[in-house]
Amino acid sequence: MNYNWDWNIFFKSTGIGSEIYLDWFVSGLGWTIAVALMAWIIALLLGSVLGVMRTLPGKVLPAIATAYVELFRNVPLLVQLFMWYFVVPDYLPEPLQIWFKQDLNPATSAYISVVVCLALFTAARVCEQVRTGIQALPRGQSAAALAVGFSIGQTYRHVLLPQAFRIIIPPLTSEFLNIFKNSSVASLIGLMELLAQTKQTAEFSANIFEAFTLATVIYFVLNMSLMTLMSLVEKKVRIPGMMGGAK
């Protein structure tokens, strides 16, 4: 193959203002992190609530949580994004609609759509992990918690969830990484995150290979750092004498 690699491209001017191509990548990475972190916080909270709901006695609450999970995990992520960005705003009450479509700057409305989309999609997956984490605990644990006089709420808060979350740190980690990778769908509704900036660089400079190589490296390093961070967390909360913890 005859291709002239030019790694200096990232330090060359984009022709727009005084920006160099590397600036685009930095700004893209910023948006990627902003989208993923915000969506993750919401997904973790909502997913935990839903996961707990699925394990509660009674019929109504578990059924609501189950319906949620089935809806959000059986529709492709991209379809959900387009729904949130193109369809749902048209059904908002008039003032909200005007605010979303006209008052907000386009980047902000795209940001809101993609955060809502990723948060709700990922919450369904977090829910399932929280549920399995709780169900993996011996049944006697909730019996013992109730027997000492804990309410249902205290039983979850002091006994079940602290154990369940420790068990599910590995699958939660991969969900955490997924949300960073999935955030690239935002490029399809015009949010200039990492992938969108990469495509733009490729088009402006014609250095397609360099642009995508750098994007690959950035995503890879980002996710590897997150993984390292999560395994530190896992080590930190390990219970002595249990689950492979130090004796």
Binding site: A145, L146, A147, G149, Q163
Partner: protein, 246 residues
């Protein structure tokens, strides 16, 4: 005075009846041993006393309070009844100290110092003061069960329920747990124990209940139960001959 009064309790899982018209009582300071073959409903019966298992018919009165009444504050009632489980069920993510104090603080509203003092007192009584800062997973089964007994006692219970407290233990650890239970019995604790330890029953029980297929078949004084074998039902005689054979 009856501390625990079980009146005509029946329970079904769907169509399958697990408890049939069970009636008995445990008086204050009395030690009642419940025995019977596996699947006879003894564990289910003892768990109905603190409403860990719901029942569909009859009622249970604990210290004057109805367990079956939907208006009863169950957490409050349960906090007054100590329970010890077959598999210990200490909270593995909490240290021994925290296991002993968390319910005292969160349920009874005791201060940290008070809970700590009480917890340590009972930990010392079961001979495990040196293990206070360890986690449950770092203790042997017998030690964990003794901590579990201390955890229940720290709540100042009016009665203690034991659900096969020694059947998950290695044989060499059974006695250290039984010793604690015997001591408790001698101190006048009201106790209802599901157990196969007939030596324990002989030593400290006031009454022995024998269950089979969800029903109470025998309910009599210890001396009568062990001393007058001929008067026992055939099922009870079979059971006794099997577990007392060696």
């Amino acid at each position: 005075m009856s501390m625990i009064e079980i009146k005509n309790v029946s329970k079904w899982y769907g169509d399958f009846q697990v408890l049939t018209d069970c009636t008995t009582d445990v008086k204050k300071g009395e030690v009642v041993v419940v025995c019977g073959p596996s699947g006879s409903g003894k564990s289910t019966l003892i768990k109905t006393v603190n409403a860990l298992e719901p029942f569909q018919k009859g009622d249970i009165i604990v210290d004057g309070i109805s367990v079956g009444d939907p208006k009863t504050d169950l957490p409050k009632l349960r906090a007054r009844i100590g329970m010890v489980f077959q598999n210990f069920e200490l909270f593995p993510h909490l240290s021994i100290t925290e296991n002993l104090t968390i319910a005292q603080q969160r349920v009874l509203g005791r201060s940290k110092d008070e809970a700590m003092q009480k917890g340590m007192h009972y930990l010392d009584r079961v001979g495990l003061k040196a293990q206070a800062n360890k986690f449950p997973g770092q203790l042997s089964g017998g030690q964990q069960q003794r901590v579990a007994i201390a955890r229940a006692l720290a709540m100042d219970p009016i009665a203690m329920l034991f659900d096969e407290p020694t059947s998950a233990l290695d044989p060499e650890m059974v006695n250290e747990v039984l010793d604690v239970m015997v001591e408790l019995a001698h101190e006048g604790m009201t106790m209802m124990c599901v157990t196969h330890e007939m030596g324990f029953a002989r030593k400290v029980a006031n009454r022995v209940i024998f269950m089979d297929r969800g029903a109470i078949v025998e309910d009599c004084e210890k001396e009568e139960f062990f001393g007058n074998i001929d008067a026992r039902s055939e099922r009870a005689r079979q059971f006794l001959s099997k577990i007392l054979a060696h």
